[in-house]
């Protein structure tokens, strides 16, 4: 394979190809799907956090107008286990017995002719509980603890000796509240059976995983399950699981023998599709007087449900962050009677970064070295541990370019030394890294006699731009105008693709497209191999190029012909090829994910404890950028989420285990007035780990923003806040 030719580092800011459809309200989201004769479902959820159901009276609900069925643990069939995924064991399926393990656990599903009838009947179900004490506090000594849950704990060197030898040691604890993903689109499932074949429209980031899960659970072949999600109203990780409500809806459709639709309510979105778990971290940094790290010990603890798994690798990236000889990481999970957490944008990494980058800021004050200079002194020129060169790493450039754009040089180091009128002004920064991730992916591309290309793969677009950047990349690689490429995704019947998650979709899908494009060119050359009418006859791929749908000789651009001409002359309707990528970490180098440096200015009204973000500058190394506009939106959107994490967001559990703020009125996410001008700039060079040179950008934008804000708050006020969110009561 050869590198992409003629591509600039930052791709054109092409408008979203799905934009017009979305603006007109014509993009079919899962919640928009309707079928004739469709029935509607409503969930009933537990109002205790631990115990058993002692009685469940559904008679009144069953007699209510329009009710078709009431599913409870007493009447549903046994379902087979769902499969393991890359994220671990599947979510616990709640209606298999009478046990309650968290408040908000599904205990019944009502199916009726209309959604109103279903919701009304759901309120008529009378449930008796035998309550047992719930464990709800991460510090509860009775809570079961899982140590090293993912086998990711690591140590290089001798941390104890390193700490003992250090001139300066910072030893601090950091806590972050639980948060909820809160995509704007309420998760919805529409399930329809056609005999033993199941079609499910669902809010999922991973159609292929969902297909396999539903096939396993219902004991049918995978080919008999079709999962459709052409458009998705956000998810931020909440769509990486096949949740019980999806399985229940499919089951209900089979029982009532009609298509069934379930749309979660906003409060149910807090209990049914995961959340970022509460975390406690301890960081110990040892350094020389000059600020060179000699030891780094990182311990991360997160909450988890009583019986389930969750991948929350808080410390996983820590060993690779800085050039430090002695590094150890420790992971723990504490089992509580809470809805099981799940992935939320940069799971683990967002939290781990807050602790490490806050601690580094503390170290910078302890040794009297500027925070950027401190990071430069500890910059990992090669991958720590392995000593391998990075496939790309422009973190140093991120610091310097970001600092320049931000005006970091204007900062006076002393806390409380900068003011504007009566407001305290603070400048803070943090570095960020996100790990490399790529998975197997396939794509099929056809070029038809009208000269257009049709690209398809079972990938998804969360709203982040998959359609657009895939269109752009395919257009570039096939030598077509963007308007002559059509991308079809969001359908498990298409060639298998991975999840849109882990910042790994585009590097996987993009390289599959790259592979398919090379095959496509070979296929057209093969088609004219014996064609005396073709100026391309007998040529090799490296002797030709494609421009605006016309293959021509590199040496003589006047000699060539179009895709359409070749197809027509050979009586072909189209040529179809498959592309595939099997991830292989590149030989002789350490595969690098994205890097970033975030710079934040805050204003603090100290009398009132009011914190406002005045501006954010982010310098990002995402390798080659496919589309300047969608990439920028990834970064600025994630920055807004980071502002929420730093200042506002907190999922509050009350003493009964109920989430006390499960509405948009009570759970605060940033509004426009909280978000200042956000500046994002891309630096670096194409990544060498894959031919297309890109690195995932979906998550690095949130990583580092909370630490940069907390560091700016310290600079403004002299207060070191080690607990998120930083609300005004913490600043009074």
């Amino acid at each position: 394979m050869t590198a992409v030719t003629g591509s600039q580092l930052v791709g054109d800011p092409v408008d979203r190809v799905d934009g017009p459809l979305k603006v007109r309200g014509a993009a079919p989201y899962p919640s928009d799907v309707r079928y004739p004769g469709m029935a509607y479902a409503a969930l009933v959820q537990s109002t205790i956090a631990a115990g058993t159901i002692s009685s469940i009276d559904t008679a009144e609900a069953e007699a209510a107008p329009g009710v078709l069925a009431v599913l409870t643990h007493e009447n549903i069939p046994d379902l087979a286990e769902a499969p393991l995924t890359a994220l671990g064991s599947p979510p616990r399926f709640p209606l298999q017995d009478d046990r309650i393990v968290h408040h908000g656990q599904h205990v019944a599903l009502v199916v009726a002719g209309t959604s109103g009838q279903a919701a009304a009947a759901a309120r008529l179900i009378r449930i008796g509980y035998q309550e047992t004490p719930a464990i709800l506090d991460i510090a509860d000594p009775d809570a079961p603890v899982v140590t090293n849950p993912w086998g990711l704990e690591s140590e290089r060197g001798d941390v104890a000796a390193g700490l003992a030898s250090a001139d300066v040691v910072c030893d601090e604890t950091f806590t972050i509240a639980a948060e909820t993903n809160n995509p704007l689109g309420l998760f919805a499932t529409v399930a329809r059976w056609d005999g033993d074949r199941l079609v499910v429209h669902d809010s999922t980031q991973w159609p292929m995983m969902e297909r396999r899960t539903l096939a396993d659970v219902f004991g049918i072949p995978e080919d008999d399950v079709r999962v459709l999600v052409p458009y998705l109203g956000g998810a931020f990780g909440a769509g990486l699981r096949t949740w019980p409500h999806t399985i229940l809806t499919a089951l209900a459709a089979r029982i009532v023998n009609r298509p069934v639709k379930l749309v979660l309510t906003r409060p149910q979105m807090f209990t049914s599709v995961g959340h970022r778990p509460e975390t406690v971290q301890r960081v110990r940094l040892g350094a020389t007087r000059e600020g060179r790290l000699v030891a780094l010990d990182h311990e991360g603890t997160s909450t988890i449900g009583t019986e389930e798994a969750n991948l929350e690798p808080i410390t996983m990236g820590t060993p690779s962050l800085y050039a430090c000889p002695n590094v150890a990481t420790h992971d723990r999970q504490v089992r509580l009677n809470i809805p099981n957490p799940g992935p939320m944008r940069a799971p683990g990494t967002a939290q781990g970064n807050f602790a490490i980058e806050s601690a580094l800021d503390e170290l910078s004050y302890a040794v009297g070295v500027d925070p950027i200079e401190l990071r430069l002194r500890n910059h990992a020129e090669v991958q720590p541990g392995s000593g391998l060169p990075w496939s790309s790493n422009a973190l140093r450039e991120c610091y310097l370019v970001g600092a320049d754009r931000f005006g970091w040089a204007e900062r006076s180091a002393e806390p409380r030394s900068m003011r504007d009128g009566t407001e305290l002004v603070g400048y803070g920064m943090a570095g960020a890294a996100y790990h490399w991730y790529q998975t197997p992916c396939r794509v099929r591309i056809s070029i038809g006699r009208d000269g257009t290309a049709h690209v398809r793969s079972a990938a998804t677009d969360l709203g982040t731009g998959t359609y657009t950047v895939t269109t752009q990349l395919a257009a570039e690689l096939l030598g077509l105008d963007v308007g002559r490429v059509r991308v079809e995704i969001g359908d498990s019947d298409l060639p298998p693709a991975p999840q849109s998650g882990g910042s790994g979709l585009m590097i996987s899908l993009g390289n599959a497209v790259h592979d398919a494009a090379a095959t496509m060119l070979q296929a057209f050359i093969d088609a004219v191999a014996g064609d005396e009418a073709s100026p391309l006859r007998g040529r090799r791929p490296n002797e030709v190029a494609v421009h605006e749908g016309r293959i021509h000789l590199v040496a003589d651009p006047s000699a060539g012909e179009t895709y359409a001409e070749i197809l027509a002359r050979h009586g072909l309707d189209e040529i179809t090829v498959d592309g595939e990528v099997q991830p292989q970490p590149p030989a002789g180098m350490a595969p690098a994910g994205a890097f970033a440096a975030h710079f934040v200015e805050v204003r603090v009204d100290e009398d009132l404890g009011l914190l406002r973000i005045a501006r954010v500058v982010s310098a990002v190394d995402g390798g080659r950028i496919l589309n300047e506009k969608t990439a920028r939106s990834q970064i600025t959107g994630a920055t807004v989420m980071g502002i929420g994490m730093a200042m506002l967001e907190e999922t509050v559990f009350d003493p009964s285990g109920r989430i006390a703020n499960a509405t948009f009125g009570d759970y605060l996410i940033p509004v426009n007035a909280d978000v200042p001008t956000l500046d994002a700039v891309f630096v670096g060079e194409p990544d060498k780990s894959t031919p297309i040179g890109i690195k995932g950008l979906g998550e690095v934008g949130i990583v580092g923003v909370p630490a940069a804000i907390a560091n700016a708050v310290h600079h403004a006020t002299g207060r070191r806040i080690r607990s998120l969110p930083i609300t005004m009561d913490r600043l009074l």
Binding site: P267, D607, M647, A660, A662, T663, D666, A673, D729
Partner: protein, 256 residues
């Protein structure tokens, strides 16, 4: 609400009302919302609003109060007790109680007028009763007396989110200052009371006192007397006092 905020008389003579209106809700909601509706809005409490919470004296008198023992933040510290700490979240009402607005009520038996300061009812042991409006009665009119010419007024709202969010604390103030001395004072607090909270004791301290931070701090102390707090609302005691000081500084011109 949006219409009233744009009224020329309100703009000129009642800045405190205009500011309270414009800091409420969102433009879309203000376009639809009425003044009577704002006055009659239910108090806010996330335990009251979730019917799965059993202990709520407002929903079921005598059942207890989950907010007193659970995590609380957007809750009242004045006029509150162990029965109920639901907050009256209106901004507009805070400005209107400061101005001695009257509520005109039409019932089946005739008309009556109630001062807004007496319209909302503290929870006591009957948190389910939030105002004096009887069965079959509606609000027909709200009378807002104009402030004397030369009076400066303003509204300060302190909240977690910069917009589209209820107050943690707020204050409405009107001051008429003559020769560096407060000639007339109006002060009310929001975000902290089970009802819109008129601070008469603070007004008495202000009246006749010199315009300075010492006066304002004394008024603030008087405005937040005998608070009832739970762990999540303790910070509001000091925050409310500072909110009072700040609005008085702003309205008096001590701080621009």
């Amino acid at each position: 609400m949006e219409e009233l905020a744009a009224d020329p008389v309100v703009i000129e003579r009642l800045p405190v009302v205009r500011e309270a209106l414009l800091l409420s809700a969102s433009t879309q909601l203000r376009n639809m919302a009425t003044i009577g509706g704002n006055i009659l809005q239910r108090t806010r409490c996330r335990y009251f609003r979730d019917a799965t919470v059993a202990a709520c004296n407002k929903r079921a008198p005598g059942s207890g109060c989950a907010a007193v023992t659970g995590p609380a933040r957007m809750h009242a510290i004045l006029g509150a007790d162990e029965h109920c700490i639901a907050v009256h979240a209106s901004d507009l009402c805070v400005s209107l109680v400061a101005l001695d607005a009257d509520v005109h009520i039409q019932g089946t038996g005739g008309r009556r007028t109630v001062p807004l300061t007496g319209f909302h009812v503290r929870p006591g042991d009957r948190p389910d009763i939030e105002n004096v409006l009887g069965h079959g009665e509606i609000i027909t009119e709200v009378d807002v007396p104009l402030l004397p010419v030369g009076t400066r007024s303003g509204y300060l709202k302190v909240r977690d989110r910069a917009s589209y969010e209820f107050a943690l604390t707020s204050a409405a103030a009107a001051l008429r200052v003559e020769d560096g001395v407060v000639a007339e004072a109006r002060l009310a607090l929001g975000g902290v009371g089970t009802v819109p909270w008129r601070a008469r004791e603070a007004e008495e301290i202000l009246t006749g006192a010199p315009v300075d931070d010492e006066t304002f701090r004394a008024a603030a102390e008087a405005a937040v007397r005998d608070p009832f707090t739970v762990p999540g609302t303790e910070f509001k005691v000091e925050l409310a006092k500072r909110t009072v000081v700040r609005i008085l500084q702003t309205v008096s011109g001590v701080r621009s």
